[in-house]
């Protein structure tokens, strides 16, 4: 049973570090998080950190990876619960906007990560969320529901717009009012892609 203990300790250590980092990065931010304090808060030293993740950026990358996977999973369940593909896509966009409003996601994934890890990190299939959205769009085009263009580029346009809108909403003086405005504009934008004569309200 010692064998299992070894592995458990291993993964537990990694999990503790990632969890603590996620908490710290999401609140005080990446730059202001001391690796000394971070590791000490879970009863370790920087030695463990650099052994497992290479450097501070490596830890951030791991946190981002975890969050991205969670987001993609949640969005997947949401979009599949809808009655049809188009509804699912619209719900997915709205859900993404809601998630992008969470301080943790906003700070870590949308603000610090691009600056620290570089945009190359989001390239191709690095971001599950983005890849899934592009695939969904491709399907909708194939089914003739929306206008035919490059699905990857369109996914970027929509995804980036939602993220930026979330930034706007996060600092809004009237969050609930601006949120409804955002959802309204989003609907207008998405309906513009529809090929059917009767867009849903």
């Amino acid at each position: 049973m010692t064998r299992k203990t070894r592995q458990e300790m291993l993964t537990e250590t990694r999990a503790k570090l990632v969890s603590a980092a996620r908490q710290a990065f999401g609140t005080i931010g990446y730059a202001d998080t001391s690796m000394d304090d971070l590791t000490a808060s879970v009863g370790l030293t920087r030695g463990a950190l650099y052994h497992h993740f290479g450097d501070k950026k490596g830890l951030l990358a791991e946190v981002v990876k975890q969050i991205d996977a969670e987001m993609d999973e949640k969005l997947a369940t949401i979009s599949t619960e809808a009655e049809n593909a188009w509804e699912g896509f619209v719900c997915r966009c709205r859900a993404y906007l809601a998630m992008a409003l969470e301080p943790e996601i906003q700070r870590i994934v949308l603000r610090d990560a691009p600056s620290i890890l570089g945009n190359a990190y989001w390239q191709s299939s690095q971001s599950q969320c983005l890849a899934t959205m592009a695939e969904t769009l491709r399907q909708l085009m194939e089914d003739g529901m929306i206008v035919k263009t490059d699905h990857e580029a369109l996914a970027r346009l929509l995804n980036g717009g939602l993220a930026d809108t979330a930034f706007w909403l996060a600092n809004s003086d009237a969050p609930e009012a601006d949120l409804s405005k955002a959802l309204q504009s989003l609907t207008a934008l998405l309906n513009g892609l529809l090929l059917t004569k009767e867009p849903l309200k």
Copy 2:
């Protein structure tokens, strides 16, 4: 004439620091730019830096402010050169995408600034570019050319999408091909907003 000399030295010192910072931030990035090296490169020390801009962030804010003003000015001339308001808006979006592809803008304004200065910096009328775009949309709505929604939210959606698309293009393996894809998808998205029966190709 000594009076003028005093002022000239003042503004010249600030200009030199901002210029050097813009160069350094745009190439090696904000985090990797040493204020010692930066000030030394223009024959000064950190004393001058902290005297004029308070801290490192203050210098970045000044650089961002300058770039944003330049972008807004360029975009303004571009959009007014078009034959009609809608054409002007479309050209403006395309021009913004092109500008967002410049490494300096991408690195400083779109990547580092949000992380370092926070999103609050872009709030309301902090970003001239964004404010102008929102106003343009408002006009188009008032003229009945595009669908009526909240112009500010729509500006966010489009602006953010363009910025994110620029990130994608910057790391593309086939930049020219992907750029045409992006422009095509952008056209599709914008045409969806049009209320007229005959969208332009």
